[in-house]
């Protein structure tokens, strides 16, 4: 507490030392002797601190910058304060500019200046430097204390802060969630602090039919950042209303929101009590397909394909739904443009879809199935070759008269011969030779050879 001394004339005098110590004037004892010795260096450091605090939004700052530190011209804190003969203090650069324009009045008092010499106000400068450095060290300390900050945020959102305050709402809530999200993604260990503060239940409760997109996208991002979700949390998240929200965000959100929703659904699917009908939603499937088709974001493509693949594996009726939204031709068209690691999952999906009759028909009807599948043989991996081969098998068996010539035209013959001669597994070779037999049934050897464009030696 700052001490006041009684003056003989009846006034009170502020004891400067205690005032500095307790922060009224903002001085920190550590930098108590900030002399003007290194006058040149100080403003630069001070400027840097101010900028950093500003950039960080200074979430830790509870106090506003004292009014006396603000330049009346720019309304910014002063780095190099100078005082005029009228007693008013300004930022040196600003008042120089004013005077250079030819003015001879004091900007705030409008008095005429009888002396334009600006006097450097070292006292004020030291006080400003001390105040800001104190605030800076506090800020830095808080930033380092991620766990504490995360717990603080969670409590703020829950309304369980000490002293008791209402849970945050509206823009404040979104801002807190956003900060929590960046903490959680940048520092894995924070997720434990979040869980301990009751963050998981909070985030789950935030998701519902009336959750705004802003709140929902941040909450989901935090949930997939590595926070451990226990069985209760997952059960809560599986409620239809919450899943609907995830599906909506998947359809409407930016790419990383979409990926996070996909990831969360994936996590839920692995859980024991998961009801597969939950993913039999057309909106969900359409949204995932849209993500898969987005070539600009390979992460999204990979995540989307993985989810589709799991859905196909887990829930048979979903396969018909996937076919009904036109996924088969879309996937086939994508095959050649996918990044290498995505080809196998895509083929997996097509393979799974081929099990249902609608899927087979869709494969047959799509004109690019044969050419793309042929191109993929022996291109990526043995697994891919096998899937592509079985796709071709399906199509050719359904309509041999049209498919076989088309396949041969696309260069199937040469590829199959390659497969048979390669180091692939025996079943693959077997399948390849059967397909070869099927396709060459109505084909004379000369036609076949020409289609294969074989060289003389191999002939």
């Amino acid at each position: 507490m700052p001490q006041y001394q009684e003056l003989p004339c009846g006034g009170q005098e502020l004891d400067i030392d205690t005032a500095l110590k307790d922060g009224i004037l903002g001085g920190a004892p550590e930098l108590g002797d900030a002399t003007a010795g290194d006058g040149g260096k100080q403003p630069v450091e001070l400027r840097k601190m101010m900028d950093e605090l500003d950039a960080a939004g200074d979430g830790g700052g509870d106090e506003a910058v004292p009014a006396v530190f603000i330049c009346p011209i720019s309304l910014e804190p002063m780095v190099d304060p100078v005082t005029l003969c009228t007693g008013q203090t300004y930022e040196s650069a600003n008042i120089s500019r004013w005077l250079a324009l030819g003015h001879r009045t004091c900007p705030t008092t409008m008095q005429e200046l009888w002396d334009v010499t600006p006097i450097p106000n070292t006292t004020l400068r030291q006080l400003i430097a001390a105040w800001f450095s104190r605030r800076y060290t506090r800020f830095k300390k808080r930033s380092a204390d991620f766990h504490g900050r995360a717990a603080e945020l969670v409590h703020g959102l829950r309304g369980t802060a000490v002293p008791k305050r209402q849970p945050l709402k509206g823009q404040a809530r979104v801002a807190a969630l956003r900060e929590l999200r960046s903490l959680a993604t940048n520092h894995q260990s924070v997720t434990k602090a979040i869980a301990e503060a009751g963050g998981v239940a909070l985030l789950t409760s935030l998701l519902g039919p009336f959750t705004s997109h802003a709140v929902g996208s941040e909450a989901v991002a935090i949930l997939v950042s590595g926070v451990s979700l226990d069985a209760d949390a997952k059960a809560a998240l599986m409620q239809p209303a919450k899943v609907s929200l995830l599906v909506d965000m998947l359809n409407e959100g930016a790419v990383d929101t979409k990926i996070n929703c996909v990831r969360l659904i994936r996590i839920l699917m692995d859980e024991k009590g998961f009801r597969p009908e939950t993913v039999a939603s057309l909106s969900l499937l359409v949204g995932v397909m849209r993500l898969v088709r987005d070539k600009n974001h390979p992460d999204g493509v990979a995540a989307g394909l993985e989810l589709l693949s799991s859905i196909c594996a887990v829930h048979r009726p979903a396969r018909c739904l996937i076919v009904s939204i036109g996924a088969v031709p879309q996937l086939v068209e994508l095959l050649l443009e996918l990044p290498t690691e995505c080809v196998e999952p895509a083929l997996d999906i097509l393979d799974a879809l081929a099990i249902v009759p609608e899927g087979r028909i869709a494969l047959k009807d799509c004109p690019r199935t044969i050419p793309n599948a042929v191109r993929l043989l022996m291109r990526v991996s043995e697994a891919c070759t096998q899937r592509a081969l079985s796709m071709l098998w399906v199509v050719c068996r359904m309509a041999p008269e049209e498919s076989a010539p088309a396949a041969l035209d696309a260069g199937l013959g040469a590829k199959l011969l390659l497969v048979i001669q390669s180091g692939c597994g025996p079943e693959l070779k077997q399948q390849a030779s059967e397909l070869l037999k099927l396709c060459t049934l109505n084909c004379t050897s000369t036609v076949f050879i020409s289609k294969c464009k074989l060289t003389k030696t191999i002939q």
């Binding site: 823009q171 009336f210 705004s212 802003a214 209303a241 609907s244 409407e252 959100g253 057309l282 036109g326």
Partner: protein, 390 residues
């Protein structure tokens, strides 16, 4: 030189010649320019107005949503407007009691256990009197005596029994609410409350519109919305629907509680099937190729209560529904089923190139102001996001 004089001459003469014409011409040009400028201004202004169109079958709740928006984002209903609803509300009372009375008479002749529906002789007298009132062009205002009569008839067990079969009659949803509040409605200085106005039932004729600006927490600059409400009953929709081509979003109201009710215009047609066909039709319209669709599954409160008593399977569209456990879980399960059906319908009816338009489903109870406000906040956010292209 001569060319120059020629030019100079004609310059001079052309000026003087056009002097004669210019006066009328310039005023005309000025007027035309003025009109052009105004058209340009208004077009620009119009572009900033986000237009919403309320569609749906009759009695799906469109006008209630309309009233709610008025209450939430405009100045609401002033005293004169509130008072103007008195005659409507009283009319609703007469209509309700007549429907019940006629219904009871019919059921007593048609049903096997007809004794349930036989009204006591005193009440029958009341019934006849009230029927006669309903037959007039202008309804008298309710007074204490009439209310006493209506109440007596309402409380007749036969009428109550008929009320429980309300779904087969064309009973408006506000029936019970007004019957429970009869005394208040008949007071001499009766001023309808907001709730009364929201419940009042009037068939919308023509098109009505309101313009409003929702002020959210962020108080972001003037997003202006204009909401159009058209009548819901069957009429020549196809003739005027294309006039709404430029709307930003269609709010389609579907009352999910009417899966066991028949149409007003055609008592052989199930209302849910009508809604299904209408939705399908609207989705396929070319004018809405790029329009966002907000589907309001409305009257959830009535749905909640009804689902415990009447199975969804009575409606042909929902005949493959399998109930799970009774109670709250059942309500959620039934709602999800209905939602999925509408989703299926949407994706079936939308050509592949239209699948990318925004389509969202909201569960609403149009009478609940808080819910409507929350729902609208979400719609506002969603529309803003699609405008900003995120």
């Amino acid at each position: 030189m001569s060319v120059l004089t020629c030019v100079l001459d004609s310059m001079g003469s052309s000026c003087s010649r056009s002097d004669l014409l210019s006066e009328s011409e310039t005023t005309e040009n000025a007027k035309s320019a003025d009109i052009d400028r105004r058209i340009l201004q208004e077009t620009k202004a119009e572009q900033h107005i986000h237009k919403l169109l309320l569609l749906g079958a009759g009695e799906s709740g469109k006008s209630t949503i309309f009233k709610q928006i008025k209450l939430l984002f405009q100045t609401g209903f002033d005293e004169t407007e509130l008072k103007s609803y008195i005659s409507v509300i009283h009319a609703n009372v007469y209509q309700t009691i007549k429907i019940l009375y006629d219904g009871a008479k019919e059921l007593s002749q048609v049903e096997s256990d007809s004794s349930k529906y036989v009204i006591s002789p005193d009440n029958q007298e009341i019934g006849e009197k009230l029927s006669e009132i309903d037959g007039r062009l202008v309804y008298p205002l309710l007074n204490k005596k009439l209310v006493h009569d209506v109440k007596k008839l309402w409380q007749d067990p036969a009428i109550q029994e008929t009320f429980s079969r309300g779904s087969i009659l064309q009973l408006p949803d506000c029936a019970e609410y007004f019957m429970e509040n009869l005394d208040r409605l008949a007071e001499a200085d009766y001023a309808p409350t907001k709730e009364d106005v929201l419940h009042a039932r009037v068939r919308t004729n023509g098109v009505v519109q309101i313009q409003f600006s929702p002020v959210g927490e962020s108080k972001r600059g003037g997003e202006v919305y204009r909401l159009y409400d058209v009548g819901g009953q069957r009429n020549e929709r196809r003739k005027w629907i294309h006039l709404f081509e430029g709307v930003n979003a269609v709010i389609f109201c579907a009352a999910i509680s009417e899966y066991d009710q028949m149409l007003f215009e055609d008592e052989t047609k199930n209302r849910m099937m009508e809604t299904k066909e209408l939705f399908d039709w609207v989705l396929k319209q070319r004018c809405f190729e790029k329009t966002s669709f907000m589907l309001f599954l409305n009257k959830f409160d009535i749905f909640e209560r009804k689902i415990q008593k009447v199975p969804l399977t009575v409606c042909e569209w929902f005949k493959d529904y399998k109930p799970i456990a009774p109670g709250k879980q059942e309500v959620e399960h039934a709602y999800e089923f209905v939602k999925k059906k509408f989703e299926e319908l949407y994706f079936q009816s939308s050509k592949p190139d239209r699948v990318d338009r925004v389509f969202k489903i909201y569960r609403t109870t149009a009478l609940d102001q808080k819910l409507v406000k929350k729902t609208f906040k979400l719609i506002d956010e969603s529309m803003r996001r699609s405008r900003e292209g995120t």
